[in-house]
Amino acid sequence: MPAQSVKFYQVGSRAVGNRLLDAELRTEQSSAERRNSITSGHRACQGCGEALGARYVLDTAERVTGGRLVTVNATGCLEVFSTPYPESAWQVPWLHSLFANTASVASGVAAALEAQGRTDVRVLAQGGDGGTVDIGFACLSGMFERGDDVLFVCYDNEAYMNTGVQRSGATPAYARTATTEAVGPIPGSRPGQGKDLPRIAMAHEIPYVATATVAELRDLEAKVERAMSMRGPRYLHVLVPCPLGWGSAPAETVHLARLAQRSGLFPVFEAEHGEVTSVLPIRDRIPVEEYLRPQRRYAHLFADPPRTDLIERIQQIADRNVARYHLDPHEIPHEEGA
């Protein structure tokens, strides 16, 4: 009986760092020299997933571009908590114009850099889900379609948080928001497919589309790195739980992002030129209930009597994602052309 002979690190592939790993194999976030693109003193709520996600994304982008990066930011929590006069939390060049026009401003920035021959400087635009899938959508689609050299990052906290948690096109079915109260026969946000921007982005056949969460740091960093290795329009959609809007404990932010992925409700994948190229398989799948229950925005589903019918509907959404993206690693691959 031969003994197993595998090199592995007990938390190597999932934790932020590991003292056992070579420095170059650790995440950017584990580095004492990480840039802290958004630095301390910002006014995000305790446990804000967006603040975390932005640092994750930008620090990596900063590293892979060697600090040759400029950013454009939409109106929203990220902008508001980071730049109230007279203090800015940004350590990167940063421009905020409006809520809806981020992608276009970024297109202009990219065009200017190109006109000036400064193609070493890369452009990253970022905004919330409202600024991306709703009001900023036309500009974003234009940016995609024109092939502008910009990475657009959407920090999806699934509602208009900065204005007090109103429904956006990215708000999931039955989630309570201030404009979709949990009353009536169909409580919370209206069911439907919402605006699945990653898939819409893929329909533009842009070089790169990826989704990620703040719970899978290595995956996220790899995606930022991959995105920055390419030119042209690229889109990264990062799930960033919001304790305020989701009614969750600040300490649960990363955990909830993980549960979202593990439930299948938030598929994590990559696509190039419109084709899915890889998915993050669900390591240990959970029923959606486990993800929904800790969030107050879904409390009405677990009231007396519980809305098991609606929970079942949400489960179906998860099941559909799992099937669509082949998220279950144990799934028997489909025979093609048989």
Binding site: P93, W94, S97, S104, V105, G108, A115, Q116
Partner: protein
């Protein structure tokens, strides 16, 4: 060298001489010829390394211009009417951020009803967006003003809108001297942005400012804007000298036989030519053309109008329910002077402003405070007569309403 050119073409060629870095554009009549021409020049490599972006909306056009401008590229765009309104939010934003963008507004009416023809409702609607607004009296000026606009914008870090009457100027063929490249280069140095997105100096542009500093921000912006008239005069003089044509020297306000005149007609834009022709044949009447409408050159205007006994403001836009937009500005410039300021609304939605009508109007003895030039009285009478005067909603409830409706039906 003067060439027979379409106004739009002359503007495009002048803008080209200004060496723009990025031109985001979205089509709308009557601006189209300008951006088409520029797009073609970029395509042909004549403007290298300029980038021409075919954006998906005017909002995107202005937004991209903001991005480009704050990244250190000279940014230009053009629009009209609905397009201008569609980009409104970004127009204000560009001013707030101090992005020295130059934009041509080919003035056109605003719908509904949709109307592609000229008036100045569009740029008037945005007069307080924080931009400098220059109005071209003719096509030579339209071309020249773009050079001045870039220089002024970049000197002050304030965006400049060059307003050109749609069709009347944009589509008119005239002999125009597009300034030579060397002259433009001499007047317009390379763009040196006040602030810029730069990895080597990573500032935060576009912070959120609360009550503790917002007033000061606005005060400073206002101060800066108010420094535009003298700067404009200086630059215009410099330019006129460079082109060797003193008659092409632009002024904030242009005095045509106005100083000392009994009646002065105040106007903006292309109607100037017609007006000058008209007053040539009327004694004691002069014309004051406002080229720089924002900031409003109140002192310069007052200096010209101080001796007049009557002022007639020819408005190419209407402030519904309040009449004359420019009139109010002129009135405030003349505060303390006891002189009647009368409003003439003219040329809305492309209606021609005829010399005969103007002559008749100026000769009219007691001109009303507000007059609509060439108003089709018969249409108005008919329509007013046809319009049923509706009773207040409360009274229409219940039987009374049925009764009165019956009465009306029988009437």
């Amino acid at each position: 060298m003067r060439r027979q050119l379409e106004g739009s073409r002359a503007i495009a060629e002048t803008v080209a001489c200004c060496r723009p870095g990025v031109i985001p554009a979205y089509p709308i009549t009557p601006q189209t010829h300008i951006v088409e021409a520029l797009g073609t020049m970029v395509r042909k490599g004549q403007l290298a390394p300029c980038r021409f972006l075919t954006v998906e909306s005017e909002f995107a056009a202005m937004s991209a211009a903001i991005g480009a401008s704050l990244t250190g590229s000279r940014a230009y765009t053009a629009t009209s009417s609905q397009g201008l309104l569609y980009m409104t939010e970004a127009v204000f934003n560009a001013a707030g951020l101090g992005a020295p963008i130059v934009m041509t507004v080919a003035n056109r009416a605003i719908g509904a009803p949709i109307n592609i023809w000229n008036d100045q409702s569009d740029s008037m609607a945005l007069r307080d967006s924080g931009w400098i607004q220059l109005h071209a009296p003719d096509n030579q000026a339209a071309a020249d003003l773009h050079v001045l606009a870039f220089r002024l914008a970049e000197e002050l870090s304030v965006p400049v809108m060059v307003c050109v009457d749609g069709f009347v100027l944009t589509h008119a063929f005239e002999p125009i001297d597009v300034p030579e490249q060397e002259i433009v280069d001499a007047v317009l140095p390379p763009y040196r942005p006040r602030q810029v997105l730069d990895p080597d100096d990573p500032v935060t542009i576009g912070a959120m400012v609360g009550p503790e500093a917002f007033t000061e921000v606005r005060y400073l912006a206002d101060r800066r804007l108010r420094s535009a008239p003298p700067a404009f005069e200086r630059i215009a003089a410099e330019f006129a000298e460079a082109v060797g044509a003193p008659q092409r020297r632009a002024r904030c306000v242009q005095d045509y036989r106005a100083t000392g005149a009994d009646t002065v007609v105040v106007a903006l834009g292309s109607v100037t030519g017609t007006l000058r022709d008209v007053v040539d044949s009327i004694d004691g009447v002069g014309v004051l053309t406002i080229t720089m409408y924002r900031p409003f050159p109140a002192e310069e205007i007052r200096a010209v109008l101080v001796g007049a006994r009557r002022i007639v403001v020819l408005e190419r836009a209407l402030a519904p329910g309040a009449s004359g937009i420019v009139t109010s500005d002129v009135r405030s410039a003349l505060a303390g002077l006891d002189v009647p300021v009368q409003t003439v609304i003219a040329g809305l939605g492309g209606r021609p402003i005829g010399a005969a009508s103007l002559r008749e109007l100026l000769a009219r003895p007691g001109l009303e405070d507000v007059t609509f030039l060439d108003l089709r009285e018969d249409v108005i009478d008919r329509e007013l007569g046809r319009e049923t005067v509706r009773e207040p909603i409360a009274e229409r409830d219940g039987e009374a309403a049925v009764e009165s409706a019956g009465e009306r039906a029988g009437a």
